[in-house]
């Protein structure tokens, strides 16, 4: 059986929780052959993970194709053009697209970006504009759509490079989900979508940090909603890692029968408690990529509050992926006089640092089921995390503290409690290890995915 992993901007070109998860899954199923299809920002993205023995092909497909033909001589027929316009306009209304029609059109006529100069495209844009945003600036609307449609049409071209497989496993909805959906239609193979983070929530989070108009934000969100709904429409199974994802998935059109819950898993035998730490300044560790979604500003503010009552050092272990954000964080550290007590380590061996820290903290504003938390739990480290994504579910049963996001005072309060009470730390750490070993082992997760792949593949056959 061959499974094609489809990702967007993550595995195998970017290090992070999702990439680690995918890499571990493939590694733990050595008897299954995998291809990896990654939609990347451009052709020159480097692969940062070792190629595993059971991975046959890694295909990097650029999100934006600049190598489209200079001039498309075989223009679409009027009928095909109108059908294409009708199919694509769903992306402007937040509704699922009809990929079957688009693929049929593409079989006869090569769809490329020159179609964006077609009168039918214009008519459909004007109609959509008048339907949805008649009071917004038209030029802004038009160019926003042009950008989105350019990417959409480029994404449709992924059907030329995506490998044939028995099962397609997309690591998210979005463009990965779209590419996998197209592959499903062409090759008739089943599609599984797993969602560590919720695509729409993450898009909204990104857009809220950009200085852009309300109209454009709405446009992007409707587009994003459309591609998410389209992915769900074609998925055979949607696999959330936690219950908290399910309500939004149902709201976005996933049928209940498609939802198949599988907990994340880690290498518990690798992440074991380290030697006891005595007589040193307590160390609080946050294991996260340095990006805004990880809420590091909140953590820095919490560290300052803690520093007023307790002695403790803080480290952030994770790749610095957003330089501007890193500079912003470092500047705040300096401003608060925390330079001696708050450090950014960058990418490092997490296990080495799990054995150094006394408390694990996550101050994210959005999460799925964070691998770092599971690893820390397996290493017997007590946690203080924000109540986002699957975290409350994981830390239920006193396996750790859960606090509201964007609340540095609450984070500092709970960290303070743990710093003051060593016995509490040990007790919580034990419980965390128990929970991790019972529910979150990689073997358990991999086995469940194997069964799912076999079930889908056999059902298809």
């Amino acid at each position: 059986m061959k499974v094609c992993i489809v990702s967007e901007g993550s595995y195998p070109i970017v290090r992070g929780g999702l990439s680690e998860w995918a890499h571990l899954l493939i590694k733990t199923l050595p008897d299954i052959e995998f291809d990896v299809y990654c939609i990347a920002p451009d052709m020159h993205s480097n692969i940062v993970y070792e190629k595993l023995p059971n991975v046959r092909d890694i295909v990097i497909h650029p999100l934006i194709d600049v190598n489209f033909p200079m001039y498309n001589k075989s223009v679409l027929s009027k009928v095909a053009s109108v059908e294409l316009a009708q199919s694509l306009v769903s992306s402007l209304h937040g509704t699922p697209m009809d990929f079957n029609t688009i693929i049929d059109i593409n079989k006869t006529f090569k769809i490329d970006k020159w179609w964006l100069t077609n009168p039918d495209y214009w008519d459909s844009i004007v109609a959509a504009y008048q339907n949805r945003s008649p009071d917004s600036p038209f030029a802004e609307y038009y160019w926003g759509v042009f950008g989105l449609y350019s990417i959409l049409i480029d994404s449709l071209n992924s059907i030329q490079t995506i490998p044939k497989a028995d099962v397609y496993h997309s690591l998210s909805t979005g463009f990965a989900g779209m590419a996998a959906s197209l592959a499903k239609i062409i090759y008739g193979s089943p599609l599984v979508i797993t969602e560590q983070g919720l695509y729409l929530k993450e898009r909204l989070n990104e857009l809220s940090r950009q200085h852009t108009s309300t109209g454009y934000v709405e446009q992007i969100m409707r587009f994003s909603e459309s591609i998410v709904r389209t992915s769900y429409k074609y998925a055979d199974k949607v696999v959330p890692p936690c219950d908290s994802h399910i309500p939004l998935e149902l709201e976005l059109g996933v049928e209940l029968s498609k939802i198949h819950r599988i907990d994340n898993g880690i290498e518990c035998d690798k992440f074991t408690p380290g030697p006891s730490k005595n007589g040193h300044t307590p160390l609080v560790g946050c294991f996260a990529r340095v990006v805004p979604i990880k809420g590091l500003i909140t953590l820095i503010e919490a560290a300052k509050l803690i520093g007023q009552k307790h002695q403790a050092d803080f480290v952030v272990v994770g790749e610095i992926q957003d330089q501007d954000y890193h500079e912003q964080c470092q500047s705040l550290v300096d401003q608060l006089g925390m330079r001696e007590h708050f450090r950014f380590i960058g990418h490092a061996n997490p296990l080495e640092w799990y054995h150094k820290i006394d408390i694990f903290v996550l101050s994210s504003v959005s999460e799925g089921v964070p691998y770092a938390l599971l690893e820390a739990m397996s290493c017997g480290i007590p946690s203080v995390c924000t109540a986002v994504g699957g975290i409350p579910e994981i830390l239920s049963g006193n396996a750790g503290y859960v606090v509201p996001p964007n609340a540095p005072d609450r984070i500092s309060e709970k960290i303070g409690e743990l710093l003051s009470d060593e016995a509490l730390r040990k007790d919580m750490g034990h419980r965390a290890t128990q929970v991790a070993h019972e529910r979150y082992t990689i073997q358990k997760m991999a086995e469940e995915f194997r069964k799912l792949y076999e079930e889908l593949s056999n059902g298809n056959n």
């Binding site: 451009d42 600049v66 020159w114 008048q130 009071d135 030029a139 950008g147 990417i151 852009t212």
Partner: protein, 476 residues
């Protein structure tokens, strides 16, 4: 303020009256140098009535050759000059300095080349003396620099100064010519050459006084490369400008050569056709309506694509109405000028050929002026090639009259009129097509440009594509 159905008719009326007056005045100032040149030429011909035919021919050939060669030769340079000034990133003054520097260099090179190439024609074919040939070179050089400097003033929006400079210079010129003429008839050309040199140097002095000497940060070599790049991007404008000047003179040149050939003098300038044709050209000053239209259309064009789609459509409808009003105004002004010129002409001559050529050419200038009018509108839809084609048709039509002018010189005038009519039909049709689906066609054209530029860039994220599209519309 959103443009609604209620207030859309009031948009063009909302501009203050003073701006309209200033626009009309600027339009008149724009054509004032040409008016002065024609009036001065007429006065000159009246004054120098004791020149014999040969002297008059030599005088006229030297002057008109210099004017025609310099106008046609610098047609492209004036466009480039305009672009350098308007697109200079540091200051308008530096742009003017750069354009004049490169313009003077170009004029010198052009003068050198043309005079070298035309030596055999002047000396062997026309049998003009070396003196007249040298006057031709001096006039060519000074006229060329004058056109470049004048276009610099116009590009900077300064229309008064060229008007004053031309009036002053031609006044002095008339005095000089008459003065030299009284000394000896043959020195009339000397007076003219000194007068035109004065015009040239006064223009340069005027630029220095008005704009000051600016430190030019860009080297001359960079400017040379720059004009090659500007020329490549403005090739249609350059062609149009060159052809339109050529079209004005081509029928006359054909008759001069034809009559010269018939009379055995190689070229004969003075004659009823020349008088009739230049009189017939006077109504072309109806193009004073064009700056008026451009000025009133500018705020509509600048904001054409801002706001909602309804706003865009309303603004475009206003633009269309303005175009048709400008069209009517141009025709009305032309009619008035035509009637005036005809009425005055019949007071002074009863020569049927002169009056016939004047009437025919006068009609032709209406269509010619309308082609120029459409050339202001068509580029807004990326249709600059249509005005070029129209001008090419006009020049071709005139050229095709060559086999027939031997029988009757009036055919040259007819050819000008008919080909101008054809050119007008084509450009007017193009305008009506342009107006249909204008918004869609504009966005389509910009989308094409965006796609082509995408291919030459490495990567564009969706936000950059959107931003680039918006900025293209803004600069459009």
């Amino acid at each position: 303020m959103a443009i609604t159905k209620d207030n859309q008719t009031n948009i063009s009326q909302s501009r203050p009256q003073e701006t309209d007056k200033a626009t009309i005045l600027n339009g008149l100032l724009l054509i004032w140098p040409a008016i002065v040149t024609i009036v001065a030429s007429y006065i000159l011909l009246m004054l120098v009535d004791n020149l014999n035919n040969q002297q008059l021919e030599a005088f006229s050939i030297t002057i008109l050759s210099a004017i025609v060669f310099s106008l046609v030769g610098t047609a492209g340079m004036t466009i480039i000059s305009y672009k350098i000034i308007r697109e200079n990133t540091t200051s308008v003054v530096e742009g003017i300095g750069r354009s004049i520097r490169i313009g003077v260099l170009y004029s010198m090179l052009m003068c050198l080349t043309l005079s070298g190439l035309s030596y055999w024609y002047f000396r062997d074919i026309l049998d003009l003396s070396i003196g007249y040939y040298l006057h031709f070179i001096l006039l060519l050089a000074h006229f060329s620099i004058t056109w470049v400097v004048t276009s610099a003033f116009w590009a900077a929006g300064q229309y008064r100064y060229p008007a004053v400079i031309f009036t002053t210079s031609y006044f002095v010129l008339v005095v000089l010519i008459y003065g030299f003429y009284l000394i000896d008839h043959v020195y009339a050309i000397t007076g003219y050459t000194i007068g035109i040199a004065g015009l040239c140097w006064l223009s340069l002095l005027g630029v220095w006084i008005v704009f000051g000497m600016s430190h030019i940060t860009q080297s001359l070599l960079d400017d040379v490369f720059n004009i090659v790049e500007i020329a490549s991007h403005s090739i249609l404008w350059i062609l149009f400008h060159t052809l339109y000047i050529l079209a004005i003179f081509l029928d006359k040149i054909i008759i001069w050569v034809s009559e010269g050939h018939d009379s055995g003098h190689a070229i004969v300038i003075t004659g009823p056709y020349t008088i009739g044709a230049f009189l017939g050209l006077i109504p072309i000053f109806c193009i004073v309506a064009i700056p008026y239209f451009s000025n009133r259309a500018k705020p509509l064009i600048d904001d054409m694509f801002t706001g909602t789609l309804s706003d865009i459509h309303a603004r475009f409808n206003n633009y269309k109405q303005l175009y048709y009003r400008g069209f009517e105004a141009l025709v009305a002004v032309h009619l008035v000028l035509f009637v005036l010129v005809f009425a005055v002409s019949i007071q002074f001559t009863s020569d049927i050929l002169i009056l016939g050529v004047m009437a025919t050419t006068g009609l032709g200038t209406l269509f010619f002026a309308l082609v120029i009018y459409d050339s202001v509108v068509l580029p807004s839809a990326g249709n600059m090639h249509i005005p070029v084609i129209s001008m090419l048709i006009i020049c071709t039509g005139e050229f095709l009259s060559i086999p027939f002018v031997g029988d009757n010189v009036w055919y040259a005038s007819m050819a000008f009129t008919l080909s101008s009519f054809l050119g007008f039909v084509i450009s007017d049709y193009a305008v009506s097509l342009m107006f249909k689906g204008f918004t869609m066609k504009t966005f389509r054209r910009l989308t094409l440009e965006n796609l082509r530029s995408m291919k030459s860039d490495n990567l564009k994220k969706e936000v950059n594509v959107r931003e680039e599209g918006l900025s293209k519309l803004a600069s459009y």
